[in-house]
């Protein structure tokens, strides 16, 4: 896979996020920073890798660029749920201020937020599962697009997100 193919895939992911955000009526200010971050990473990654492309296998660059996009999505959209769930589940922190997470003002004047935060279902497992689906979906997209080296690229993407660490 060459850099142009890879850029196209990452732009497709960005476009899908924009379209679906409109569909599910997510406020634009909620998702736009993530899309901007994806675009920034794509551009800087492309610039950086054009310099090293001569000495690096293009499929490796392709895999890293897509992994980078998925990593941004995971950090911004998937993990906050897990952190919130962990914090909310801790007995020691049963009384803390909901507005610390919401920003002041939204729930002022009553004690409901604290109770709500303890009760709230963060759907962490569901989000994890959707993220796995996204990794599979992107890998399927790469395979079905018939890019050369697709198997190597999809293998690296799957390996990175398997949680094996360094």
């Amino acid at each position: 896979m060459n850099i142009r193919d890879t850029q196209f895939i990452v732009r497709t992911i960005e476009r899908q996020f924009r379209i679906v955000a409109r569909e599910v009526q997510l406020p634009v200010q909620t998702i736009q920073p993530v899309i901007d971050e994806l675009a920034r990473a794509r551009l800087s990654f492309t610039g950086l890798n054009q310099e090293i492309a001569a000495e690096t296998d293009e499929n490796t660059i392709a895999a890293e660029m897509i992994i980078n996009a998925l990593a941004i999505i995971r950090s911004a959209l998937i993990l906050p749920s897990a952190f919130m769930e962990h914090i909310a589940a801790r007995a020691d922190f049963q009384r803390y201020d909901h507005s610390a997470f919401f920003g002041p003002g939204e729930y002022e004047g009553n004690d409901v937020p604290i109770a709500m935060f303890q009760r709230e279902e963060f759907n962490t497992q569901q989000l994890d599962s959707f993220f796995s689906d996204l990794v599979l979906g992107i890998n399927q997209y790469i395979r079905e697009s018939g890019f050369p080296g697709a198997a190597l690229v999809t293998g690296r993407i799957a390996q990175y997100f398997s949680g094996e660490g360094e």
Partner: protein, 245 residues
């Protein structure tokens, strides 16, 4: 516009992610605070470790401003700020506090935001009374928390630079009365870089760089990886036991 069939699985997954987030006001708001929420999470891991450590004689408690509920800072703060909570605990050598997202001047005089810092209660009290930031050598232990996707090598360099800006002293923190001789923080391993994702494979690793300078470095520290979380907690507790007892 008709959706190409090969994009369908990708779009369905994205619909699931954004639909789930859209259904939770907390998660929607969390998107803009993902870094601060990660620092809050890592702080709870350290407090969990302290709770189980036999050398911690007074177990961690939360100190809330003006008797209010617990409040994690969701933005830059000062150690003397009255808007954020902190943790306090005690060991045989004294009392200690853990603060989040606090500003501190480095050795150069430039400002840095420390995601998590540990200092002596005596020093924190002095900071609160005199509305001052802790001095570099008064920060016993610091943690940099990164939830930013795949970690670049440059983040390792940044962390090394931060630790150069925040040297430790050769004397115990609770008895410092004058500017001490500065030492590299790694001499006593008193800094940690912790992140949610490892670097891209085949790239120079920020974590290896940080470890090579004798500081703590861990990736995959997140709720779905209990083994990595435990390893991080063990390393931090080992360093704190030596520094605080």
């Amino acid at each position: 516009m008709a959706l190409p069939a090969r994009e369908a699985a990708m779009r369905n997954a994205i619909r699931g992610i954004l639909g789930t987030i859209g259904a939770s006001p907390t998660l929607s708001s969390a998107l803009t605070n993902k870094g601060y929420i990660y620092s809050a999470y890592v702080a709870t891991l350290i407090v969990d470790g302290l709770n189980q450590a036999p050398w911690v004689l007074r177990k961690p408690v939360v100190e809330n401003p003006r008797g209010g509920p617990f409040r994690f800072p969701m933005g830059r703060s000062e150690i003397y700020s009255t808007t954020a909570s902190w943790f306090s605990f005690g060991t045989a050598t004294g009392d200690w506090e853990i603060h989040l997202c606090c500003n501190c001047s480095g050795a150069s005089g430039m400002q840095h935001e420390l995601d998590i810092l540990l200092t002596a209660t005596q020093i924190a009290e002095d900071c609160r009374q005199n509305q001052r930031q802790p001095a570099t050598h008064e920060i016993v232990f610091l943690v940099e928390c990164k939830n930013v996707g795949a970690i670049d090598y440059s983040l390792g360099r940044e962390f090394i630079g931060l630790c150069y800006e925040l040297p430790i002293s050769s004397e115990p923190a609770q008895v410092i009365l004058r500017r001490p001789l500065w030492r590299w923080r790694g001499d006593r391993k008193l800094g940690a870089l912790v992140a949610t994702l490892p670097p891209l494979s085949g790239r120079p690793s920020a974590f290896r760089l940080v470890s090579a300078r004798n500081l703590i470095a861990h990736s995959w520290v997140e709720p779905s990886n209990p083994a990595f979380v435990s390893s991080f907690q063990r390393d931090v507790m080992d360093v704190l036991r030596r520094a605080l007892t």
